[in-house]
C-alpha cells in the first residue's frame, strides 16, 4: 500500500508533464462559462492543442484521435493538467456522453463527420434528456417525434427539455423523444441527434435561486430531422439512453466551494461566544473534525477507485458516494459558517463578507447540488439497488401505455 505510480504510470506522468510544460497556457483566461463567457476562445484553443497531441480523449482508440490508453492514464493527465491555469472545459458532456452514443449507433459517415470536430473542440454537444414533467424519471419524456406528413421519412420534434447544461453554446445535441405513446413508457422512446442552430429550437437560460444560469430550458417546435439522424431503432431509445447515462457516472465531479480548511481559517479570526477566537469553541471543533474526516474519506475513496483503475480493475461500488456526502456537507458547513459570523452572516456582498462571500455562495448553491445529477434520495436508491442489491421501488408504470399513465395533469 503506497501512493506511488507504477513504473509505467511514472513514465506516462513524466511524458505528460513534459508536454504540458511546453504546451499548457501560462496564465488563466477568465472562468465564466455561463452564457459562453469570454473564456470560450481559450477553451477551444486548448482543446485543439490537446487533440493534436492525442491528449483530448486518451482512452479513445487511435483511429478516433485518442491514444487507446487506459483510464488511469486519463486520470494522470487530468491531475497534471490541473496544475496549470487551464480554461474551463465545456466539451466534457459531448465527448464523455453524446459523441460515444452517436459513435455507437450512427453510421460510419456520421461518426466520421462528428468525432473529429468534437474532439478538437470545434463543435460542442449537449444532452437533451430531462423534461419538466420528468425529473429523475428520464423514461417519462413527453417530447414528441412524429413522421412528417410529407412522406419524406423525416421526423418533426416538438416539446420541451430542461436542465440542459451548455445548450446556450452547443452546436449539436442528442434528444430522447416519445414516438409511441401507446407503448409502456420505456418502450415508446426514440433517440435523435439534432442541430442546435435549427430555428425551431429555442434556448432559454434558467434563472437559479443562487442567481446564476448554468442550465437551460430548450423548446422544440416542429424541428425537422432526417431519419438518418435517428440513433438506434425506432422505439428503442431507452436502451440508447442507457449507453449515454452509463458514461455519466464517471463524469460527475465532486463539490467545490468552501471546505473545512476555509472554515478553520475563518474561525481562527472571528470572535466566538466569549470573545475569544471562535476556533476555541469545542462545538465548532467537533464539526471541523467531522467535516475533515468526511472529506478525507472521500479523497481516499477516490484513491481506492484510482487504484482499481491502475490495476486494470473496474472501480468498486465505493465510487458512488461522492456527491451524496459532499453536497450535504457543503450545505451544513455553509450554514454553520454563516451562523459563526452571527448577525453579520446575512451579508453576502463579496466586498464585505469574509472570503468574498464564499460561505454565502455555498449556502445558496448547495440546494442545487443536492438535486443536480440525481437528488440525495435518488442516489440513495441507486446505492441501495445497484450496490447493495436491494429490490427496486414498486413500479406501477411498467406495463401501462404511456398515454394512460397518471401524471396529475
Amino acid at each position: 500500500m503506497d501512493f506511488n505510480d507504477t513504473p509505467e504510470e511514472a513514465a506516462y506522468r513524466a511524458q505528460v508533464r513534459t508536454w504540458l510544460e511546453a504546451n499548457a497556457p501560462k496564465r488563466a483566461t477568465g472562468d465564466d462559462l455561463e452564457g459562453g463567457g469570454d473564456s470560450m476562445a481559450a477553451s477551444k484553443a486548448w482543446q485543439a492543442r490537446k487533440a493534436a497531441a492525442g491528449y483530448a480523449q486518451i482512452t479513445w482508440p487511435k483511429e478516433w484521435g485518442g491514444q487507446g490508453g487506459n483510464p488511469i492514464q486519463q486520470v494522470i493527465f487530468n491531475q497534471e493538467e490541473a496544475k496549470h491555469p487551464i480554461p474551463p472545459n465545456p466539451f466534457q458532456i459531448g465527448l464523455g456522453m453524446c459523441v460515444p452514443t452517436v459513435a455507437t449507433f450512427a453510421d460510419d459517415d456520421t461518426k466520421a463527420r462528428f468525432v473529429g470536430p468534437a474532439l478538437r473542440g470545434e463543435e460542442i454537444w449537449c444532452q437533451l434528456f430531462s423534461e419538466p414533467s420528468g425529473g429523475s424519471d428520464v423514461a417519462a419524456s413527453r417530447t414528441r417525434a412524429v413522421r412528417a406528413p410529407d412522406g419524406s421519412g423525416d421526423w418533426l420534434i416538438s416539446g420541451q427539455k430542461v436542465w440542459t447544461t451548455g445548450a446556450q453554446f452547443s452546436d449539436f445535441g442528442i434528444v430522447i423523444c416519445r414516438t409511441n405513446p401507446d407503448a409502456p413508457k420505456h418502450k415508446g422512446l426514440t433517440m435523435f441527434w439534432v442541430d442546435m442552430h435549427d430555428p425551431g429550437i429555442e434556448v432559454k437560460p434558467i434563472h437559479q435561486m443562487s442567481g446564476g444560469s448554468g442550465f437551460n430550458e430548450v423548446f422544440f417546435t416542429d424541428v425537422r430531422v432526417k431519419d438518418s439522424q435517428r440513433l438506434g431503432a425506432i422505439d428503442d431509445g431507452w436502451k440508447v439512453s442507457l449507453v449515454t447515462l452509463m458514461n455519466e457516472r464517471l463524469a460527475v465531479g465532486g463539490a467545490s466551494g468552501a471546505g473545512w480548511a476555509q472554515f478553520m481559517e475563518a474561525a481562527r479570526n472571528l470572535p466566538g461566544l466569549d470573545g475569544a477566537p471562535a476556533l476555541k469553541d469545542q462545538a465548532l471543533r467537533e464539526k471541523l473534525a467531522d467535516w475533515y474526516v468526511q472529506a478525507e474519506g472521500l479523497k481516499h475513496t477516490r484513491n481506492r477507485t484510482m487504484t482499481a483503475l491502475s490495476r486494470g480493475q473496474t472501480p468498486g461500488p465505493e465510487s458512488s458516494i461522492g456527491k451524496i456526502i459532499s453536497a450535504v456537507q457543503m450545505q451544513e458547513l455553509a450554514h454553520a459558517a454563516v451562523e459563526m459570523l452571527d448577525q453579520y452572516g446575512i451579508i453576502n456582498d463579496p466586498a464585505l463578507a469574509p472570503l468574498h462571500g464564499a460561505f454565502q455562495s455555498s449556502l445558496m448553491f448547495a440546494p442545487g447540488l443536492r438535486i443536480a445529477g440525481g437528488t440525495d434520495e435518488i442516489l440513495k436508491n441507486i446505492i441501495a439497488e445497484r450496490v447493495l442489491g436491494l429490490p427496486g421501488d414498486i413500479r406501477v408504470d411498467k406495463d401501462v401505455p404511456f398515454k394512460d399513465m397518471p401524471t396529475g395533469r
Partner: protein
C-alpha cells in the same frame, strides 16, 4: 390547563391571513426581491398600519390597540407565513418593545404613538462586524450626547427613522436612540442573503443620541429586548416553516415520478413527517415563550431561548427540505421556495445566531439547576 390561544385571538389570526393573502401575495414580495431600488413594500406597510397591527401591543394611552402580546404573536405568525417584506420586526418587536420596556414617560409618549400610527420606522443596531459581539467588543461610543461608530448590518437601517444603538458611554454599555434622519448619520445599503428585507451599514459621526434606560445597563437591557423579540420572531419562523411544509406537501401530491405521486415514496413521506415533528416542537416552545412574554414571567430568558432555538431549527429544516422535495424546479428563481430559504436565514441571524442562544439557554439552566 389553558395552553392555547383564545377564540378571539384565533379569529384575529384568520383575519390577518385573509388580509395578507390579499395584500401580500408572493408576487408582491417578489417586487421587493427583484428591484434593488425598492427596500420594502410601502403600500403594504401603510395597509398594515391601517389595520392597527403596529400598535397591537401598545397601550391605548400611547395610541395603540392595547390588546396584548398574544395578539402580536398571531400577527407575527401570519407575517412569517407571508414572508412579508416590511420593517415590522424592527419597528414593533425591537424598537416598540424596547421603549415599552425601558423608556421614560416622555419617550413613550413621544415615540409609541408614532409607531402605532405608522409614522416611524424603527431599527436596532448592535453588530459591528463579523462574529459574536461581547460587551468588551463594543467600539461605538457616546460622548456628550453624541454617538460615533459603525454598525453593520442594521436591518432596515436604510429606511428607518429611529434607531436603537448599543454603545459605550463612560466605558459602560448603554442603549441610545438616534434620529437617523438627523445630522451625523451616513447610511449605505448592504446586500444580504434576503433581499426582501432591507439592511444597511450605519456610520455615526457625532450623531445626537438620547439614552434609553439606565446608564451602564445596555447589555442587560438589550438581552431583554432580544428575549422579547425572540418570541415574536419565533412565531414568524413557525409561520414560515408551516408554509414550507404546506408547499412541500402540495407539490409532492401533484408531482408524478415513475407513474405515481412522489408523496407516495417513503423518502418524501418521512421527510415531511420530520418537518411536521420539528414544526410542532417549535410551535409548542413558541407557545411557552408567548406565555412568558405575556405574563412577564421570570422564566422569560429560558423560554425565549428555547422558542428561538426550536423555531430557527424548524424553519431551516423546512426551508431546505422544501426545496429538496421540489427537486430541480425548487432551485429556480421563479419558484417561491428560495424566498423562505432566504427568510429563514434572515430570521435566524437578526437577533443573534441560534448558537448564541444555546449558550444563553444553558447558562441559565446551569444557574437554575445549581440554585
Amino acid at each position: 390547563m389553558n395552553f392555547d390561544f383564545s377564540d378571539d385571538q384565533k379569529f384575529l389570526k384568520s383575519e390577518a391571513r385573509k388580509f395578507l393573502d390579499a395584500n401580500a401575495p408572493t408576487g408582491r414580495v417578489r417586487q421587493v426581491l427583484d428591484d434593488e431600488a425598492r427596500p420594502y413594500d410601502q403600500a403594504l406597510w401603510k395597509a398594515v398600519a391601517e389595520q392597527g397591527w403596529l400598535g397591537a401591543a401598545i397601550p391605548e394611552e400611547f395610541g395603540g390597540l392595547g390588546l396584548g402580546h398574544l395578539e402580536l404573536c398571531v400577527i407575527a405568525e401570519e407575517l412569517g407565513r407571508a414572508v412579508a417584506p416590511i420593517p415590522f420586526a424592527s419597528t414593533v418587536y425591537f424598537l416598540a418593545e424596547a421603549i415599552q420596556l425601558a423608556g421614560d414617560d416622555r419617550q413613550k409618549a413621544g415615540i409609541l404613538p408614532k409607531i402605532a400610527a405608522g409614522e416611524v420606522i424603527g431599527a436596532v443596531a448592535t453588530s459591528e462586524g463579523p462574529g459574536v459581539l461581547t460587551p468588551s467588543g463594543v467600539q461605538t461610543s457616546v460622548t456628550g450626547g453624541r454617538l460615533t461608530g459603525v454598525k453593520i448590518p442594521v436591518t432596515d437601517g436604510d429606511i428607518a427613522d429611529l434607531c436603537l444603538v448599543l454603545a459605550k458611554e463612560n466605558g459602560q454599555p448603554g442603549l441610545f436612540l438616534v434620529d437617523l434622519n438627523g445630522e451625523g448619520v451616513t447610511r449605505e445599503p448592504v446586500k444580504t442573503l434576503d433581499p426582501t428585507r432591507d439592511a444597511a451599514r450605519l456610520t455615526f459621526k457625532g450623531a445626537p443620541a438620547q439614552r434609553l434606560g439606565a446608564a451602564g445597563e445596555g447589555f442587560a437591557l438589550i438581552e431583554q429586548v432580544f428575549d422579547r423579540a425572540a418570541v415574536l420572531l419565533a412565531f414568524e419562523q413557525c409561520g414560515g416553516a408551516d408554509r414550507c411544509l404546506e408547499m412541500a406537501k402540495a407539490y409532492a401530491l401533484e408531482r408524478y415520478a415513475f407513474g405515481r405521486v412522489i408523496a407516495s415514496y417513503q423518502a418524501i413521506k418521512h421527510k415531511l413527517a420530520d418537518m411536521y415533528v420539528k414544526n410542532e416542537l417549535a410551535r409548542s416552545n413558541a407557545y411557552y415563550g408567548a406565555w412568558a412574554l405575556n405574563t412577564n414571567a421570570p422564566e422569560m430568558p429560558v423560554a425565549a431561548s428555547a422558542a428561538r432555538i426550536a423555531a430557527s431549527e424548524a424553519f431551516w429544516f423546512a426551508a431546505k427540505e422544501n426545496i429538496q422535495t421540489h427537486g430541480g424546479i425548487g432551485f429556480t428563481w421563479e419558484m417561491d421556495c428560495h424566498l423562505y430559504y432566504r427568510r429563514s436565514r434572515q430570521l435566524s441571524l437578526v437577533a443573534g445566531a441560534p448558537r448564541v442562544w444555546k449558550e444563553r439557554l444553558v447558562s441559565h439552566l446551569e444557574r437554575r439547576n445549581a440554585a
